[in-house]
Amino acid sequence: MDLQSFFNMGGYAGFVWSAYGLTAVVLIANWWAARRRESEELISARRRTQQLKESRT
């Protein structure tokens, strides 16, 4: 299979590639959102424990 016909997808290029592209976008967005949410919670938890330590001393 040559590269030209691979990208052409038998005339369905627009449909096939937009479906796969959208899938990639949604999967990557999920990865990003999960990482971000976890790191945000971690930062706020650390800040909170830090504050508690400081208030005690």
Partner: protein
């Protein structure tokens, strides 16, 4: 058994365990999804009726599968949380909702993109498509209901009831192509007799489903950790070990 379960469900233990488990889901998921995409786009032969457009199957069907699978996980977790009052189960349900909604959106969108060249329309109000759209609204409703409570325990209980009631929609989606006449093709893989799809077309499909499944496992690990941190913000174990 019960002591083991309680230890497992204790927040600090679960938090650390999820952190250790995550890479065992994440890396295999990445490899398998890329391999399945390559197989589906390059190696699998073109369909004799649909040509290369059928390759959308390899992202559409796994997304649709995940949209229902995650909803069932969510409802079962919510049920466990409601019956045995396990907070971790509620947290797992809450952590799943956004992921499930995104897969439902993906199933609808890729189905629409596939429907245009094959059926000649982006959308029809038939049973399969409508029930899948209802699933998306159930996810949205679940998330909106959670967000409307300040008290996490009340949010857990109220949203759990919605998740459990809404699970009735899952078999409706699955059987919609048999109960009503629809444009959507009937199941070709999950039939009791032999699947009516060529084996070499089937491998990348199963691989993609396994890959998505593992990816959901990774996402659940990460989101559940975030959820535990948020719920345990005043717990003493947080002061030692993060």
């Amino acid at each position: 058994m019960w002591t083991w379960l309680h230890k497992f469900a204790s927040p600090p233990h679960a938090y650390r365990l999820l952190g250790r488990l995550a890479p065992w889901f994440g890396w295999p998921a990445l490899v398998i999804i890329l391999l399945a995409a390559w197989w589906g786009l390059v190696r699998a032969p073109a369909d004799y009726q649909q040509g290369d457009a059928f390759r959308i199957l390899y992202v559409h069907a796994p997304s649709a599968w995940m949209s229902m699978f995650i909803y069932v996980v969510m409802a079962v977790a919510a049920g466990i949380g409601l019956i045995w009052r396990i907070k971790l189960a509620h947290a797992a349900a809450a952590a799943s909702a956004a992921v499930g909604a995104s897969f439902t959106f993906l199933a609808l969108a890729t189905g629409s993109i596939w429907g245009k060249p094959m059926w000649g329309t982006w959308w029809v109000w038939d049973a399969r498509l409508t029930s899948e759209l209802i699933l998306l609204f159930l996810y949205f409703g679940y998330m909106a209901l959670r967000a409307s409570f300040d008290d996490p325990q009340r949010a857990d209980r109220a949203s759990a009831v919605l998740a459990i009631v809404g699970v009735i929609n899952v078999p409706i989606i699955h059987y919609s192509v048999e109960w009503w006449t629809t444009l959507h093709q009937p199941a070709s893989v999950t039939k009791l007799d032999k699947p009516s799809i060529a084996i070499e077309m089937l491998y990348p499909l199963f691989m993609m489903i396994v890959g998505f499944q593992l990816y959901y496992g990774w996402l659940l690990c990460r989101r559940l950790r975030a959820e535990i941190l948020r719920r345990e913000r005043n717990a003493t174990w947080l002061k030692e070990g993060i």
